[in-house]
Amino acid sequence: MRKILIAEDDFFIRDIYSKVFSLSGYDVQVAVDGMDALEKIKANNFELILLDIMMPRMTGIDVLKNVRTTLQPPVKDTPIFIITNLGQQDVIEEAFKLGMDGYILKSQVSPQQIVDEINNYFINKEAITNPIPTGGQTT
């Protein structure tokens, strides 16, 4: 079971995401704000982190920055996805520079699509780490 962290300050949205990921077979932990997220990241070994941007005490961007610059491997290199709203282009650019692995527009996708996307992410990652010897990779 893959262990993931979902950091989201809105109660309902946090509840939806954690339910939908649990129902899809993930071991889900939640964080209610950025500080809570950072503490949990330090204390656990997550395979993936989903961060909201606008959170009390610490923004998702600051959590990302902290993980990438202050923590030690392997936690430092945990895949991080930002879940955000439409149009925060400058923030998204910044997050890419800080080493975000992808972002998802929250208003535009259903929770199940987020799960599908994360499933695909893990499938692709495994294909890259353990390439099938016979099949050539196409771009």
């Binding site: 208003s107 996708v109 259903s110 699509q113 771009t139």
Partner: protein, 417 residues
């Protein structure tokens, strides 16, 4: 003697005519002055030497100068205005075309009052005559309040849309959770209600996103981050994400695209929105079994993308307003319009931010063709961006109803450089 008589009579006539004339001129001038004085609009009359001849009391009040102080002075010292966009000083010559062309000219300018305050004004100039002198009439209105109201409206829309989005995301989230994982517990009619709930919340989400985009456009806050981009990847991705929808409608949905395309300077996310809007319009407004053809063509200095359908088409009288805000083609659908009237306005704004062009052709009952042209990236632009490409490039993917943005693999982003 006789001649003297004739001569003095002549003199008398000339003097009389002169007196009558000048008193007539004075009377006309007085009448004109009283008309200008009675205006609610502020007005200044300037002679050919750019000196103030007259100003009414709204002008005195707005500028904060008295008639006595202003009369006879150069207009540029009495009336200090600057550009509303960049605050650059706008001397009289910049807005006084009226003196030559005799047509009304309007400008939005910033007025610097005598006390140093600034007010936005709408200024109109017109060629005129005061008494017997040629002159220019400048009228202006304080539009600061309108500007302020407009800003408040935009702020309000933006704030309301943001606030609506969080609860809406929760509604959609729970509905989709029910749909994905609890469908088997529901009675058939409950399933149907749930589907309708999801469709309606999706429409509402799109409306809110569109409203936010519009308020960003109006606040000049919607920016595009252009970089050399292989449009092919984006168009193909968006095309394939719509294939299922077109298939459900039994529509013939084709994409004609050359294998290799020159790079264009574009914002991958924003330009993706443009194609999503046009393709989803084409699908929505084309009946079942209709045809939709998307073509990308290399026109040497620009790429031309056309989205052509044989759907219901757009009435001639609607064409001129097609790209304006809140405009919807009325009566185009018996079941009512599907859109918000914002999509094409946003589409056009985004295309223009890319220095591109968008146009539409349509015949009612026969279908519509939307054409976009985007300038091809120059060598210089490509070289400038080459270093940044790879890690920062990302790709827009429309996945059913949603957009997911992924990091673009470095090799695809730089494939054509």
């Amino acid at each position: 003697m006789f001649f003297l008589l004739i001569f003095s009579a002549l003199i008398l006539v000339i003097i009389t005519v002169f007196i009558i004339n000048s008193s007539y001129a004075r009377a006309v001038r007085n009448a004109q002055e009283s008309i200008i004085s009675s205006l609610n609009e502020a007005a200044i009359v300037v002679d050919n030497n750019k000196n103030v001849l007259f100003l009414n009391s709204p002008a005195e009040m707005l500028i904060g100068i008295s008639k006595k102080e202003a009369t006879g002075k150069s207009i540029d010292t009495v009336f200090q205005v600057s550009s509303a966009e960049n605050d650059a000083p706008a001397p009289y010559s910049l807005y006084s075309e009226a003196a030559n062309v005799a047509t009304r000219q309007s400008h939005t300018l910033l007025l610097r009052k005598a006390n140093g305050d600034k007010a936005q004004i709408l200024l109109t100039t017109a060629k005129n005559a005061l008494g017997t002198n040629d002159c220019v009439l400048i009228t202006f209105l304080d539009t600061s309040k309108e500007k302020q109201l407009e800003e408040m409206k935009v702020d309000f829309v933006s704030m309301a849309a943001h606030e609506l989005r969080t609860p809406l995301t929760a509604i959609r989230g729970y509905a989709s959770l029910l749909q994905m994982h609890y469908m088997s517990h529901l009675e058939p009619s409950a399933k149907e209600f749930l589907t309708r709930l999801i469709v309606s919340t999706t429409n509402l989400t799109n409306l809110i996103d569109n409203l936010l985009s519009v308020s960003r456009i109006e606040q000049n806050d919607l920016t595009v981050e252009v970089k050399p981009l292989d449009l092919g990847i984006i168009v193909k991705d968006i095309f394939s994400s719509f294939e299922q929808q077109a298939l459900t409608r039994k529509q013939h949905f084709t994409l004609n695209i050359p294998d290799k395309l020159p790079l264009v300077m574009a914002d991958p996310f924003r330009i993706g929105q443009v194609f999503i809007n046009l393709i989803s319009n084409a699908i929505n407004y084309t009946p079942d079994e209709g045809t939709i053809i998307i073509t990308v063509a290399d026109r040497s200095d620009h790429l031309e993308i056309t989205v052509q359908d044989n759907g219901e088409g757009i009435p001639k009288e609607a064409m001129s307003r097609l790209f304006t805000k809140f405009f919807r083609v009325s009566g185009s659908l018996e079941q009512g319009s599907k859109g918000t009237g914002l999509g094409l306005y946003i589409t056009k704004s985004i295309v223009e931010m890319h220095k591109g062009k968008i146009s539409a052709e349509s015949t009612l009952g026969k279908g519509s063709t939307f054409t976009i042209s985007l300038p091809i990236a120059t060598e210089e632009q490509k070289a400038q961006q080459e270093k940044q490409i790879g890690n920062n490039a990302f790709l827009t993917v429309k996945n059913g109803q949603g957009i997911i943005i992924k990091k673009m693999p470095a090799n695809t982003a730089s494939a054509n450089i």
